[in-house]
Subunit: 198 residues, 4 copies
DNA sequence: GATGAATGAGGTTTCATTCAT
DNA sequence: CATGAATGAAACCTCATTCAT
């Protein structure tokens, strides 16, 4: 009876994280208050501290979850056959991207904790990407002259940048933009035309 | 009876903006407090409100200045002869980019004021870029099949994204990354090889 | 899990209102500061906002209480048999009247919220008074020629005015003044001498 | 050239007082800020302190002016022949009375300075009124049994109270109310019917 | 006479957090 | 597990006032 169910505990944690995320999206990482999170989660402030030791812990946990999700999504895509399809899965321009990514990037500029989390997560995605590129190069689908590590970093940064497209121009045609983005990637990665075949 | 120097007023405003920027970079837009700005500027809290009506007004003014600077820098580059040179001027990967850009982008997700400022500024840069591309196409240096508007947007977003490169991987070789970035742009913009010449 | 005592909550609210009232009497509605109220109530500033959402809410609640008390006092008096006795109960001139009435009246000139509260409360007292007057007229104790509504308003305003007597002349003989006030009311309300009885 | 014109000085003072009054009426004695007064008067804060040594001095001066005006108005009325006409001149119910009177009365509860000013001014009006009543009694127009001092105080308080009529009931018929007020005064002051004449 | 720069205390309110129950 | 009372520092901003020009 007084044994705490660790499953329920984790469930509640996730519930709170969901509420917190809504608040952070609405008000920013620094702008959202603990009490607003409590209100959104429907719990008392005292209770929240049973699950998280501080506001910062909530942010860390939430970012962790978000980054893990992104990595998982990417890993799943990577299982697919085609290299480019994988990339394009993450590279869709959309009007409402994950707003917390920008918050996290901004925060990483200042907070070493956030920077660490971001870099750790990046490493995972980066190596996955580098692997993909290697496969592509082996298969002749990708320019073998490209440095895999640099290219992987570049692709990640392009995905980051694509999140600002709609922010900067709300009237942007997302379909066209997505297509153009993919064209650019294709042209970059494509192996140079073999002079012998011409 | 004689009006006091409006020049001095503007000077002080700029001084305060400088102090504010240092604080915002250090602590974030929401994290920096008015009193910390006052301390950094060496003035009293009451006095700050002689020059700015609110913290938000400080942020707006500062962002305005920053965006104007960026636009001016870009316009100056655009005067140069070569299209690609112009682009590459802004596209250098560096370890300490303008940290406020990410803050502003994150804020634009929530604050309509910030979003408006960002979009207005983007418009200016965007049309400049589109013009450049047009010239390049006319000169045969750029693929005439590319939509100038979409491409301009894309290039801006890539510049945005390039600011995250070092955040995500502090050990990144910036020179190589810069070069790779430029390669990507070149391959994207290059006109397709003329079949007749082969 | 079990709800905490709402009775205690209400008690604390009342306690704070008491402290607030002392401060407002001492320093005026605008002159009293929230922190002085906190000090008087022996609580921290943050805690006060658990019970009242703003300083204005405190004022509203306090005025509400005061006006309700006044109305209740009046209603109780009205249960007594005699019409004039009832009136005179409220009409005693005293050296230390309810100082907040004047504050509230002054505030009502500017704040629609306060004006509304005052007018709502006045309505209650006014109808009670009009009823009383009607009874008196029916019983022949009051001049049937008087308009009950106007007379009720007039009486209320006279009670208001009586609060300034000692302010304007601190050496005033309150007993005599009270008597004179009552005389005036008597003469006003008295039915005209019946010519037939003379 | 460097002799200051005392006339101009006085003029400016009055101008500032006028602006101050508008502010005080709008925002209350404590609610109006010095800078709002400066804005209303179209002068700089530093300049205001050439004319008044403090905010309190402004309030004092303004109240002084207002009370003097009231006294003068009253004195002028008193020159007229009829006693009652004089009284009724001041006793009109109006929708927008001098709002500062209530502020001043409230303030007098707390500030000895204000209390003193109010009491001094009251003395003047009071003695004038007592004189008037005496004349009326001598002429047989007023009940000789009334104590002149008490009656004068009472009348003043009734005038005070009449300022709250429209505050408490904004829909009040001011004409009827004025008439009723006068009726009351008449009935109070009227000499008792002489039994011999009946 | 007149300006507006400058102050610093203090205004109301919100914050993250702790604790008794 | 869960509450909400309680804290006190700090948030943004306004205030009355002074001073150099």
């Amino acid at each position: 009876m007084r044994k705490l169910d660790p499953v329920k505990h984790e469930e509640k944690r996730r519930e709170i994280l969901g509420a917190a995320e809504r608040c952070f999206v609405r008000d920013g990482l620094q702008g959202a208050s603990v009490s607003s999170i409590c209100a959104e989660a429907g719990i008392s402030p005292g209770h929240l501290y049973h699950y998280f030791s501080s506001k910062e812990a909530i942010i860390s946990a939430m970012i962790e979850v978000r980054l893990a999700e992104a990595a998982a999504r990417f890993a799943k895509l990577a299982e697919g056959a085609d290299v480019l399809d994988t990339l394009f899965g993450e590279m869709t321009v959309s009007r409402s991207g994950p707003p917390l990514l920008l918050e996290a990037l901004a925060e990483a500029n200042r907070s070493p904790t956030m920077a660490k989390a971001l870099q750790d997560h990046t490493k995972g995605v980066h190596s996955l990407l580098a692997e993909l590129l290697e496969k592509g190069q082996a298969a002749g689908a990708i320019d073998p002259g490209l440095d895999r590590n640099i290219t992987a970093s570049l692709i990640i940064s392009i995905i980051d940048g694509s999140k600002t497209l709609c922010l900067r121009d709300p009237k942007l045609d997302v379909k066209q933009a997505t297509k153009a983005l993919q064209t650019m990637i294709i042209r970059y990665l494509a192996p140079p035309p073999d002079p012998r075949t011409r």
